[in-house]
Each structure stands twice: as C-alpha cells, then as structure tokens.
C-alpha cells in the first residue's frame, strides 16, 4: 500500500501535472519516506517472526509458522514474570517519585531571590542531561563503591560503621536507580514548567499581593494551579510508559548480584535475541510489551480526553 503511495503513477491528470511542476519538492521528501519505510515499517513488519521459528538461513518467508507458541512459552517463563515485575515496579517508582521532581524544582528555582544565583543553579542543573548515561552510571558506580566518596563521607560523619555495598544489595537497586534518574533529569525536566511559570499573568500576583496574600499563599493559589493542567498532561503521557523498562539502568547499573531487582523486560528480550540468538522468542517478548504499551497509551489518551478534554492525538 505504501509503495503505491510513494510512486503515484495512477493518479488523475491534474495531480500528475502538479507533481511534474514540483518534482524537486517531491525528490526532497521521498528519501525521507523511503527511509521511514526501510527503518521503521520493515522492522515493524518484522515482528511477524514472533509467530515463527525464525532462522536466518530461511528468512522471513521461509521460516516455519508456530502461531502463538512463543507467547505461550513466555507466559510460563518465570524469568519473564520476574522481568515484567521489575519493569513495572521501577516504572511506578519513577512515576511517583522521579516524575514530580521537575515541578518542585521549578517552583524552587522560581522563588530563589538572587538572580545570579538562580541562573547558576538552573544552568548547572541541566548539565547532567547532556552527559552520556554510560558515563553517569560509571561515575555513580565508583562514587558509591565501598571505598568511594559516599561511603568515606558517611563513615567520617559516623553515620555508618562499615561501608555499604551499594551495588551488590538487590534491595538498593531501585532506590539508587531512582536517585540517579532524579540527579540526571530533574533540571532538564524543569524547563517546561519554568516556561509555564513565565507565562502566568503578572497581574494575578499583584492582585494577590494587594489582597494580602504572602509568598506561600501565592505559590499555592496561583503558581501551582497554573501548572496543574500541564503536569496532568505530562503525567498521563508518562503513565503510558508503565511497561517500558529502563534498559540503560538495567544494563549499566545492573549486575549479577542485583539482578533480582534490576533485570527488565528489554534486557531480557535483548539477551534472548542477541546473546542466545533466539530471535523469535525475543521478538515475542518485545512485541507483547510493545502491544501492552500501545494499548496503555491509547487508554491514557482516551482517559485524558474524558477527564480534561485534552487529547494528545
């Protein structure tokens, strides 16, 4: 179908004439469309191998069809359940703890009374967003090493007697992953809220001040209510990622000791596929997850439309 649209020969005469007059314009867009067909639609169609026993030698067309066999195996697989549980728990933690941070941070920044200091805090806070996660992970792994800065400082302050093994304790993975997410993305995420705060009518504040509202009252009754719609919209969007695991954290912060909590669906699919070359099984896992996510996004969009009248698409 898409092929037919991309090479429109059988169109009416008027269209043909128009096409001829704008052929350079068409030549500018067609490479992009070809790109999308190759790099987005072909892999999408490639999900068909989840229903096959795919072998590289037989290809997409020659491989044997096994129906829902891989999905049935997946649902019986304890590792899958563990990975799914880890994925959802981590996402929930992000949603409840990491997600509100940019809003709080924007409120904080906005109240800082000294202009230069405000700029300094704000500008510094974006920086971690631009450092590769591979670097951020490595940095925190060594800072939280038993002999690293954090343990050293805590011992110096007599908070602990013996160093904490942060990275080998499965119970600590989720809190650490959450904290590192906060460290990396809070400042960047606050930009959108700061923009929204900048858009609030100044006379609202002036009127409130004349009425005798103090700083806290102005924050609670003017700034915060003005940010709620944006926050709600972003929250719904974010809720759509409940089944999406954080592959970076899982691979780079995870290890064989904390695997019980750090192993997420994406990593499982990746190891099944690229390390064990069980392509079909790995694709069954990832396409199941993608389907769940898509349904969740559609539901979230519908829900958002019902509640606030705002649909995203």
């Amino acid at each position: 179908m898409k092929e037919a649209m991309a090479t429109p020969n059988k169109q009416g005469g008027g269209t043909w004439k128009k096409l001829k007059s704008q052929w350079t314009l068409q030549l500018m867009i067609l490479p992009c469309i070809a790109f999308l067909i190759v790099f987005a639609y072909i892999p999408l169609a490639g999900n068909i191998i989840a229903f096959q026993n795919f072998k590289i030698t037989s290809g997409f067309t020659g491989s044997e069809f096994v129906g829902l066999g891989h999905f049935a195996e997946m649902l019986r697989d304890p590792t899958f359940h563990q990975a799914m549980k880890n994925t959802v728990l981590l996402s929930l933690l992000y949603l409840l703890v990491v997600f509100p941070m940019p809003l709080l941070f924007a409120l904080l920044i906005n109240e800082i009374p000294f202009r230069r200091f405000r700029k300094l805090v704000q500008t510094t806070s974006y920086l971690p967003h631009f450092i590769a996660f591979a670097m951020v992970a490595s940095m925190w792994i060594i800072l939280l090493d038993p002999k690293g800065l954090v343990n050293e400082t805590m011992q110096l302050l007599h908070l602990i007697r013996h160093p904490i093994e942060f990275w080998t304790e499965p119970g600590l993975f989720r809190p650490l992953s959450t904290l590192i997410s906060i460290w990396k993305e809070t400042g960047w995420g606050a930009i959108i809220f700061l923009a929204a705060i900048a858009g609030i009518q100044p006379d609202l504040y002036e009127a409130a001040m004349i009425d005798g509202a103090g700083r806290i009252k102005r924050i609670v009754h003017i700034t915060l209510p003005n940010l709620v719609p944006l926050f709600a919209m972003l929250f719904i969007l974010k809720a759509g990622t409940l089944f999406t695991g954080n592959l970076d954290h899982s691979i780079l912060l995870g290890n064989s000791f904390n695997k019980d909590t750090s192993y997420v669906i994406e990593y499982y699919s990746l190891q099944m596929g690229l390390e064990l070359t069980r392509y079909s099984y790995a694709t069954a896992i990832s396409s199941f997850q993608a389907l769940m996510s898509l349904l969740l996004v559609l539901f979230a969009n519908w829900f958002s439309g019902r509640v606030s009248g705002n649909r995203l698409f």
């Binding site: 469309i33 190759v38 590769a132 670097m135 050293e152 959108i192 690229l274 392509y279 694709t283």
Partner: protein
C-alpha cells in the same frame, strides 16, 4: 523587582529555605563532577588514603598520561569525533530537507506522507527486527551503522516544520519569480535563515551521537570501531583495566588497586570534560529547542 517592598517574616523564611535548597541542589549536581576532577589530578596512592575533598593534595598528571598512551582510547576518541561530525551534518540536512518539503501545503500527497511519519512516533519495530534488518543491509559491524539509521528523526522534523512555517511566504515567491527551483530555494534561501533551529537540532543530534553507547555495544563486534562511551564502559570494568596494567609505569604498579581507581576517575573526566566545557556556551540553544518542542506539544 520587589526590593522596594519591605520583606515580611514569611518572605525571609521562604528566601532562606529556597536558598538553602538551591545550594544543596547546586552542590549535588556540581560536586560529584568536581570530585572526579580533583581525585584524577591527585597521586593515586595518596588519594586512596581518603580525606580528599576540596583540592588535589599531591598534584600529578600521571593518571592522564596512562590514558593518553592507550591507543584504543585515542582511536575511539577520533572515531567518535568523526561519527559525531558526519552524523550531525547528514542527519540535520536530511531531516531539514524532508521537513521543508513537508511544510509546504502545495506538496502533493502531503497528508499521506505526514501519516507515514506520525505513525512511527507511536509504534516502532523493536530491537530484534531492527537488528535483523541491519544485518540484511550489511550495516552491522561497519561505521555506517552509526550514521545511516539516524539520518532522519521525526521529532526533529517537527521542530524544523514549526520553524519553516513561520517564515514569510514572500521569500519563496520572489525567488520563484527569479526562476529558482525548490531545492535551490531551500539550500540558498531557507537554510541560511534557519540558523537558530539548525543550531538547536544540530546540538540535539550531536549529543545523541556523542553519547550513544548502545550501537557500538550491540551492533558492532569489531572493537576498533567502538565509540568512546562503549570503550569507557568496558575500560571501567576491572578485568579490562587489569589487562592494561602491564603498560603502567613502574611507580604506579606498586599499588595497582589505588592506581586503578585513579585511572577510572581520570577516564571519566576525559569524556565528560568536553561537553562540560562547551556546555555554558551552547545551553541556550538547547533551552530554545526545548521551548519550541514544549509549545508544539
């Protein structure tokens, strides 16, 4: 702004609280990076003794000397620079070109093209089919696997389109009268006028290329072609560093564990420093781009 108004008790309390939290936030962001720097500039054995908080105690460049003697690291550094330069140039121009055509309402089949693009924002193929595709295209294990799959990006295309739409129509019309073709108009008139959006998108794309760790790790098995973040992750695993131990100068071989630690810190600084140094000058473009994106959404 409010300086002429007498501060109330509440104002003072709020000011003090936010200032304290601001300082905490600033230190929490900045200090870990600063600590890496001082640790890496200190003698490894001395640093392992602890108590290093503000300045290097026994200043040395030895840790860096070890890194820069590592050929693999130097090689991957140059490779990453090449990848970022080429990937950014091609990715930005390819996307801008498509976005320009798509921003013209007279484009035939515009709705269809837009649909094809928008669908990819919500569903994507998944890792394994993508891997198999790259294999089929003989892109695995080549330099081009870094460049070609990221030629076009739909989100950046939306940024471009938002910008192109608000350029005055007359620009194009007057050029048309002079007999210029669409591509000429795009390349010679539109692009030079689009510096802000080009800068923004270029920076987004460049950061993605510079930071990409995944492509090398899973699509390229030849370590000669690995980019910097992937090499670093591997180097920071202890086994890899111990392998490199043989190349250490004798004085550092005395206390290998401490030396290892210091080299890790130095390696991180070498990779994080470039972005940290250019960051103050480019951050306004990022923020600009973020704002445009936010307004669109």
């Amino acid at each position: 702004m409010r300086s002429y108004i007498k501060l109330t008790r509440e104002d003072r309390i709020v000011n003090a609280t936010v200032t304290i939290f601001g300082i905490v936030a600033f230190l929490a962001t900045f200090y870990p990076l600063y600590y890496l720097l001082i640790y890496s500039l200190n003698d490894p054995v001395d640093a392992a003794g602890g108590g290093l908080y503000w300045f290097p105690r026994q200043f040395t460049f030895d840790n860096y000397a070890v890194i820069f003697r590592d050929e693999q690291l130097l090689n991957s550094f140059l490779l990453t620079v090449a990848r970022t330069a080429l990937g950014t140039l091609t990715g930005v121009l390819f996307t801008a070109m498509g976005a320009y055509a798509l921003s013209k309402s007279r484009l035939v089949f515009r709705k269809t093209y837009s649909m094809i693009g928008l669908v990819t924002m919500y569903v994507s193929g998944g890792l394994i089919p993508t891997y198999l595709l790259l294999q089929k295209l003989h892109l695995l294990n080549t330099f081009w696997v870094y460049i070609i799959p990221s030629l076009f990006n739909i989100f950046n295309a939306l940024l471009f389109m938002a910008f192109f739409r608000q350029l005055p129509e007359e620009l194009e019309e007057s050029a048309k009268v002079d007999g210029s073709g669409d591509f000429y108009i795009f390349a010679r008139i539109i692009l030079p006028l689009s510096k802000p959006v080009l800068a923004t998108v270029a920076l987004f794309v460049a950061v993605n290329h510079w930071n990409d760790w995944f492509s090398s790790a899973y699509f390229v098995s030849n370590q000669q072609l690995w980019t910097l973040p992937t090499i670093i992750v591997r180097m920071l695993s202890d086994t890899a560093i111990i392998e490199n131990m043989q190349s250490l100068p004798p004085n550092m071989r005395m206390d290998p564990l401490s030396t290892l630690m210091a080299i890790k810190y130095a390696t991180l600084i070498v990779t994080v420093l470039p972005i940290t140094l250019v960051y103050p000058f480019i951050q306004k473009y990022f923020v600009q781009g973020m704002m445009v994106g936010a307004i669109k959404a």
